[in-house]
Amino acid sequence: MKTPSVLKRALIDIRDNGFINLVAVLTIAFSVIICGAFLMCWTNVNHWIDDAHAHVRVMVYLQPECSADQIEVIFKQIRENSAVADVRFVSRDQAMTDMKVLMKNQTSLLDGLRVNPFPDSFEIRLKPDINHPKDISAFAEKMGSISGVENVEYGQQWLERFAGIVQVVQLIGYALITLFFMASAFIVANTARLVFLSKQEEIEIMRLVGATDRFISTPIYLEGVIQGLTGGLLGLGLLFGLYLLLASRIGSGAIPGFFIISFLPVNTTLVILAACMIAGWIGCLIAVRPFLRA
């Protein structure tokens, strides 16, 4: 059996059963959009968490009545700590300026303030090996005990809590992906079953003139793979369109640059396409086997 002839037969089948094939392709595309959107969120959140883990930043806020000498002493104490990679003093005026830059479109909100609410602070970056929550917590406690320090913030606590939630969401996501994968396979199976039913007389004749099961079923399998690929490409295309729309909205949003979302990595898109093709193939396998055994 020559490949082009098999492909030709598969394409003719798709053309002859246009509507049911379209339904199958759209179902796969819909599944890809749902699963792809979830994967995109998950990838981005994971990326943010990894990024936060890799660059642990601790803010040490000073009491308002701290003198310059006291600030110098605190600076020395921080710098001498072995966990510290880098330390930067942020004056209250600097903090105000930074905030104005960040909120470039909404500076009027800050203009109304008569008193600068920001305290003097130290921005500390820890060494890369200090990323365990316990180490960070111990470091923060030590910083908090320094005289003149009002408060220590390091954001890891919410990150850990958030990571826990992400894990739960991840499990739900896996279940969702499995569900949609099965749904896609089921829809393709039904499509293949309908195609087979509509071609029963033709298949019977083919058998009578010497067509093997393989000759009969190969184009149907190929049809399922083509359905999967087409549905996958369509779904990813639509998802990319949605991503562009979302990215442009976020880009011009309240805090530009605060959220950076990225599309699915190339590897993931390839895996999605492969999964779609496998779902198509499995669907056909489920549908075709009983017919071939008959």
């Binding site: 059996m1 033709e202 083919m206 058998r207 009578l208 003139v209 010497g210 093997t212």
Partner: protein, 302 residues
């Protein structure tokens, strides 16, 4: 043939015949056990083919006490029959006599209820479901209602038996064009069967059956409902493939076909074999569905 206990066995045999025919007969009985088959083949089939004796030629189809029944209804009863290679066999009988069922058993569309069918040395009961299509490639079948694939063009319908065998596209194109030219339908290459007349559809069905030069051609009422011109074209096709060495088996009650074609005729009635006739030139006009009318022909049915 001597297997059916015909008149040849009663004749005095020379020592040569005893060695040449009798032993092969005994070993043919062993033959179905298949262990001795290669030995039988070497010892006895080959000399037959080299012209030592025509009688040594192995039948291409052997039916042993074959019956077919649907529930309690017997459609074929105890058919025992040998068909030699290159026979042009006509099966006749009234409607419901079992002609079509007999053909369906031969091309493995139905299993036998009792008995055995050996085709080209293969016991059909032992052909697995998976191997059946491959086994059927030995045949070309013209079905009663043509059974063309309506969603495929004339070209695709005729090309199908070659495609399933994995033939090269250029070879398929050449063969299909040649056969369509032979049946005068080359100009309808891209037409769909639904647009063709009954006669044209029948010709396409015959073309599909013979396109791969099969060893065995089975046809169920191939000239039914055809005008005489279309019937002639089809009969010429069968004659041509028979001349090329194929065994042709046609189920028919077309009197014209019986008159013109074939070198052997069997008659079925209510599922039983009631007449088996050979002819040298043509069957006498007395042949019809009444078995008494076959009296003038040499029957081999015991």
């Amino acid at each position: 043939m001597g297997f059916s206990g015909g008149p040849e066995q009663e004749k005095p045999m020379s020592a040569f015949l005893e060695l040449g025919i009798f032993i092969p007969i005994i070993l043919f009985r062993v033959n179905e056990n298949s262990v001795f088959r290669p030995l039988c083949h070497i010892l006895f089939v080959r000399p037959g083919k080299t012209g030592m004796s025509e009688n040594l030629q192995q039948p291409i189809i052997r039916m042993f006490h074959v019956s077919r029944q649907y529930g309690a209804q017997k459609v074929l009863t105890d058919i025992t029959l040998d068909i030699e290679p290159n026979t042009f066999l006509l099966i006749t009988g009234p409607s419901g006599a079992g002609k079509s069922t007999l053909l369906r058993l031969l091309y493995l569309a139905e299993p036998v209820s009792q008995g055995q069918i050996i085709i080209d040395g293969v016991n059909t009961a032992r052909v697995s479901r998976r191997r059946k299509p491959v086994f059927r490639r030995i045949f070309g079948v013209v079905f009663q209602n043509y059974r063309l694939i309506l969603t495929k063009t004339v070209f695709d319908n005729v090309a199908l038996p070659l495609e399933v065998m994995g033939e090269r596209p250029d070879m398929i194109r050449k063969r299909v064009h040649a056969i369509l030219r032979a049946i005068g339908l080359e100009n309808r290459l891209h037409a769909y069967p639904i647009t063709l007349s009954g006669g044209e559809q029948q010709r396409i069905a015959v073309a599909r059956a013979i396109v791969r030069n099969p060893k065995l051609v089975l046809a169920d009422e191939p000239t039914g409902n055809l005008d005489s011109d279309s019937a002639d074209i089809i009969l010429n096709l069968f004659e041509g493939i028979h001349q090329n060495g194929a065994t042709v088996i046609i189920a028919t009650h077309d009197r014209t076909l019986i008159d013109k074609m074939g070198n052997r005729l069997i008659q079925l009635e209510k599922g039983a074999l009631v007449g088996d006739f050979k002819k040298d030139t043509c069957f006498p006009e007395s042949v019809n569905y009444d078995s008494e009318s076959f009296a003038g022909l040499k029957s081999e049915v015991p």
